[in-house]
Symmetry: C2
Subunit: 348 residues, 2 copies
Amino acid sequence: MDYKDFINQDTEWLKGTGPSANIVMSSRVRLARNLDKVPFSNWADKGRLEDVLVAVKDAALSTGGLKNALFVRLKDLSEVDRLFLVERHLMSPEHAENVDYKAVVVDPKEIISVMINEEDHLRIQVLLSGSNLRECWKIADSLDTELSKKLAFAYSAKWGYLTACPTNTGTGLRGSVMLHLPALVFTGQIGKILQAIAKLGLNIRGLYGEGTDATGNIFQISNQVAMGITEEETIDNIERISNQVVSREDSTRKTILTKNKEALVDRISRALGTLKSAHIITSSETITLLSAIRLGVDLGIVKTMDRRTVNELFLLTQPAHLQELDGRPLNANERDVKRADLIRSKLK
Amino acid sequence: MDYKDFINQDTEWLKGTGPSANIVMSSRVRLARNLDKVPFSNWADKGRLEDVLVAVKDAALSTGGLKNALFVRLKDLSEVDRLFLVERHLMSPEHAENVDYKAVVVDPKEIISVMINEEDHLRIQVLLSGSNLRECWKIADSLDTELSKKLAFAYSAKWGYLTACPTNTGTGLRGSVMLHLPALVFTGQIGKILQAIAKLGLNIRGLYGEGTDATGNIFQISNQVAMGITEEETIDNIERISNQVVSREDSTRKTILTKNKEALVDRISRALGTLKSAHIITSSETITLLSAIRLGVDLGIVKTMDRRTVNELFLLTQPAHLQELDGRPLNANERDVKRADLIRSKLK
């Protein structure tokens, strides 16, 4: 299997399965680890970076979870190919820059990935559909345990795991859930909820990480700190608050269905009409419209489409996916036309 | 035939036939006349108004052009019925107010109408599809000649026909053409053209008369004054300038088709998609979208619809028409839902 074959399978974070999958799109656990006595990636020299790359690769591919995994050096990829992996959430946008000594290990199901020489030597990531944070943590923990038998991680009894950025020092754990909250946005409740979440020590941000907008009413909630708190507590914390937000979104959806159904049907139906007829469409507008349609599918208002098709479009309409499908680089205008063509043909 | 049966026929101004009908929606000539030695409508007492009403009715119904016409006293109509006649351009919005001594005579083809006791005792109107101003004038002139044999009109050798508003004094003629100018709006040329037209002594305004917006890219051009100029010159003037605007709109459409076809197709196709899927839609949005679709039909981009259907929707989606179709008064929210239902069913 080649990483390019991913395009023919449902990526894990958009499968639309798992608990509360109508609202919790996906759950993710990420562990930051560094090799003991080796400078962090941004300070290490080329020889050291190459050593790290080889050592982590060998260790990762010898674990149970990653023995069939794909290993890819990012310098062997085109820019589009790298963005393709970012769009599938298999690596961070930052990992696609300055790629000389960077690599990624990905299991063929796209559940586990290990970034090598991101700002930390290892970034272990486990991604599952739906509300599945605890399961993510179990998988990540077990992989971490296996890896720690082959690699010596930088660890201080006082500080915990040492990391390039102090916010990760401690457990090195970042847990996150991706929530689809159209009803809370539609009714204007989202502002207060975001404030409340921030006060509870959690971060909230958009679909593609820090600094990105919550396009498509998709919000990612994650822990702010990794020190002075155990892994279990971190997971508990996120899960508890996520459950509260989910329950609020759920009841708001029901209220809208009772009190404002016509306006909702109008909005969802128009979104579908626009996607079926546009000949030029940006990625951002596409996500906004797909968000409305996903809600329509979840509420049984859209019956001609299933969640799988919505999710497939979410991903295939992203810039790199469009270019992979077309087999050539496309500028923004060309992509807007191709995107509209693709959507119309899928919705015909 | 009852005026309510009009709803089952194509109203003249939206037939979409006649010269340059792709751009000139309709042409209209209106003559203002008053009975000699009778105060203007807004100054006359009830008895006098009633006398005028009866005299004009009798005279009108005895002419060749109006012998089969419908005569309607506006006080016998509901508010919705009056608005219905306004929407069909058979009378002015002003004529629907303070209706005690007002009436309208309409020929069954909806080409000729005579308002009685608007601000002038008679407002003779002739309306034809397409660029047909000269033909309108011929019909109006011949009716005026017939009427003048039965009614003594207020006329001064020095000033011409005397009218309530000085801008009509002289010939009493107002000629106008209704132009659909989406390409000039789309390319931003319309501003300069409006300025030029104003400098040439013509008025330009929106679809439903003075002070209304040019919703749906529809503009009405008419003469500003009726004194010091013959009827022939007035008609010539409007026709000449209208032809220039039409020719500019036409060439701009061709340029867009060559240089910017994709954006145009996108816009038109989205408009159709929205109309086919909306569940709540205002009259104003409807007109805007229908304008795009009319252009699409004219340019051969929309093939699933003809101009007749577009025009039918233009009219049937107006507030009073919707209420006539539904057989009961509807508030604005109810209309927005009914309108969307009607459009979806017509476009299915």
